[in-house]
């Protein structure tokens, strides 16, 4: 179960040359600045555009120029969500939903449409025409419409970028539910760091029509050779679950592989799966554990790697805290003073931890 893609495209002012090997489950985010070729790559995978190459999705070959195979879009079992919902304005939400479903042979319908409607919370909107839906509601119907065709892969092209902040916050929880409940891989184009932090399992960083880096989210974010900026700063995302609530101090303990972090209690129950984001600038490194500081989260860690940061005064330190990768930004003077070197045991003092969902 995997997605293998290889495309080469040269349109003069824009060239694309990519080779991808993506997991057949979970959310893979194509991340990069606008103009980096993310959307073009997604359209090539959908067959909406054509370039020489090869494409195989979960065992089925959709394009193989060597064998003269090119399935047209309508014969590929995919779901596609555009930036703008692109619902058919002449059909009600329900008939939009049925449009694709009707065209899939009954034997291939695996998705329970009632479940999809419930998952996206659109039951009360079905009789309305798209003109009478809000932007967020339209996008939810569009996602449901794509899922109703029982796709083998869901392609989403910046589905939140046309929405304002409030609408984004409205839809993100639904996307997280899709992430948790769907068996099929999702390929998600985004340039928004918070969407990456909340949704990605696997990340493909694109730049100038090429893949700059690809790999599982945690590992890839912690790479020092190409720190992917999540917003203004380098940082990592850890996955864990709420293990304990401290009612007296309004704190929650998030346990992840081999360690735990205290975060502000945001009302989530014990056992809830969560992600936390830790920025490099919020981690400092000490040789001794200080019990006399205000910092709540101090983890034992090993130095794995040191690298220069963009400013000559700063260095990035990759740490391994009980198999969880962390990245700290410290001054080069501090690194020299502590004589940091790979393999050294240190304490990572974490000033701020953000719960991202």
């Amino acid at each position: 179960m995997s997605i293998r893609a290889q495309f080469r495209l040269d349109r003069g002012e824009f060239a694309l040359d990519v080779q991808l090997d993506l997991p057949g489950r979970g959310v893979s985010v194509l991340f990069g600045p606008s103009g980096s070729g993310k959307t073009t790559l997604l359209r090539l995978i959908a067959g909406l555009e054509r370039a020489p190459g090869f494409l195989q999705v979960n065992g089925e070959v959709w394009q193989d120029d060597a064998a003269k195979i090119f399935l047209p879009t309508h014969r590929r079992a995919l779901g596609y969500v555009f930036q703008e919902a692109s619902l058919f304005p002449h059909l009600s939400a329900r008939r939009n939903l049925e449009y694709g479903m009707k065209r899939v042979p009954p034997a291939e319908r695996r998705v329970d449409v009632a479940h999809v409607i419930a998952l996206l919370g659109i039951g009360h909107l079905l009789e309305r025409k798209p003109a009478r839906l809000s932007g967020g509601e339209r996008q939810r119907v569009a996602i449901a419409r794509a899922l109703a065709t029982s796709p083998r892969i869901l392609l989403m092209d910046e589905p939140l970028s046309a929405l304002d902040l409030a609408r984004k916050q409205e839809i993100l929880p639904y996307l997280e539910r899709l992430h948790d409940e769907l068996e099929i891989p999702i390929l998600y184009v985004s340039h928004a760091p918070d969407e990456v932090a909340r949704l990605a399992d696997y990340i493909v960083a694109m730049d100038g029509g090429r893949v700059a880096a690809q790999g599982p989210l945690g590992e890839t974010l912690a790479r020092l050779d190409l720190p992917i900026r999540l917003g203004e700063d380098a940082g990592v995302v850890l996955e864990g679950e709420i293990a304990e609530l401290d009612a007296e101090w309004h704190l929650a303990r998030v346990a992840f592989a081999g360690g735990s972090l205290w975060v502000r209690d945001s009302g989530l129950p014990v056992g809830q799966h969560v992600r936390v984001r830790i920025l490099a600038r919020d981690i400092s490194v000490a040789l001794e554990p200080h019990s006399d500081s205000s910092i709540l989260n101090v983890l034992p860690a090993t130095v794995e790697q040191l690298a220069d940061d963009t400013h000559p005064a700063l260095a990035l330190v990759k740490l391994n805290a009980a198999s969880a990768p962390l990245v700290a930004r410290i001054t080069r003077r501090s690194a020299a003073k502590l004589a940091l070197r790979p393999g050294q045991a240190v304490w990572a003092q974490i000033k701020a931890v953000a719960l991202v969902g």
Partner: protein, 222 residues
């Protein structure tokens, strides 16, 4: 109203209906191609389709008369197919009307297809609809106002045609004698009474056409 005038009205309506039906079949693929092509031929083909807008009808009628005649290429073709000659027949003026009204049918449909853009069709393709399927289930319903405008314009323009019919069809009652020619004949014969009746009904008809176009336009905005 004299029976020969009623016959002219009936013939005109028959001509306009058949012309409109044929035009829809021809204009739709032409409009689709013009709306979506990136070919260098888009300009020349578009100009050719729109030529009847600027040509005097007599010029078009003259060339059609020559081409459909016994020595013309269309004439050769129709005779070898056993259809006989087209000039001075009903089907001859149908051919002339179709060509003459082509831009009036193509332009509204082309504009409607261009306004839809490619996105809804791409969305339909990702929802398993093949080309003809998405054409009829998405493009045609969304372009409906364009089709309605094309129908009204093509029909009305055919009803109002004079020059091409005169050049190609002459004056044969029940075969090529349409209302506009009938009015001309009445005036030539100084029969102003029947001319008034026919001319007045044309004015009323044209007014209703423009009114319905206006109504269609407002429905499109709504």
């Amino acid at each position: 109203m004299p029976p020969e005038d009623l016959q002219a009205i009936w013939l005109t309506l028959r001509l306009a209906s058949i012309t409109t039906a044929i035009l829809l079949v021809i204009a739709t693929p032409v409009a689709w191609w013009l709306a979506h092509t990136r070919s260098v031929w888009k300009g020349p083909v578009g100009a050719l389709v729109n030529l009847p807008l600027v040509l005097p009808p007599t010029v078009l009628g003259f060339y059609l008369l020559i081409w459909m005649g016994p020595h013309g290429p269309i004439g050769h073709l129709t005779e070898s197919l056993g259809l006989g000659r087209l000039p001075f027949t009903f089907w001859g003026i149908v051919v002339g009307s179709v060509l003459f009204s082509l831009p009036f049918a193509v332009q509204p449909i082309q504009n409607a297809f261009e306004a839809i853009g490619t996105r809804p069709l791409e969305a339909a393709a990702t929802l398993r609809a093949g080309f003809l399927d998405r054409f009829f289930s998405v493009a045609v319903p969304l372009a409906r106002p364009g089709f309605l405008t094309a129908i009204v314009l093509a029909f009305a323009h055919t009803v109002g045609e004079f020059g091409v019919v005169l050049m190609l069809g002459g004056n044969i009652p029940g075969e090529t004698l349409v209302v506009s020619v009938a009015i001309y004949n009445r005036v030539e014969a100084l029969e102003y009474g029947p001319a008034h009746v026919l001319a007045g009904s044309m004015v009323a008809f044209s007014f209703l056409v423009l009114l319905s176009l206006n109504w269609l336009g407002r429905r499109r905005e709504a």
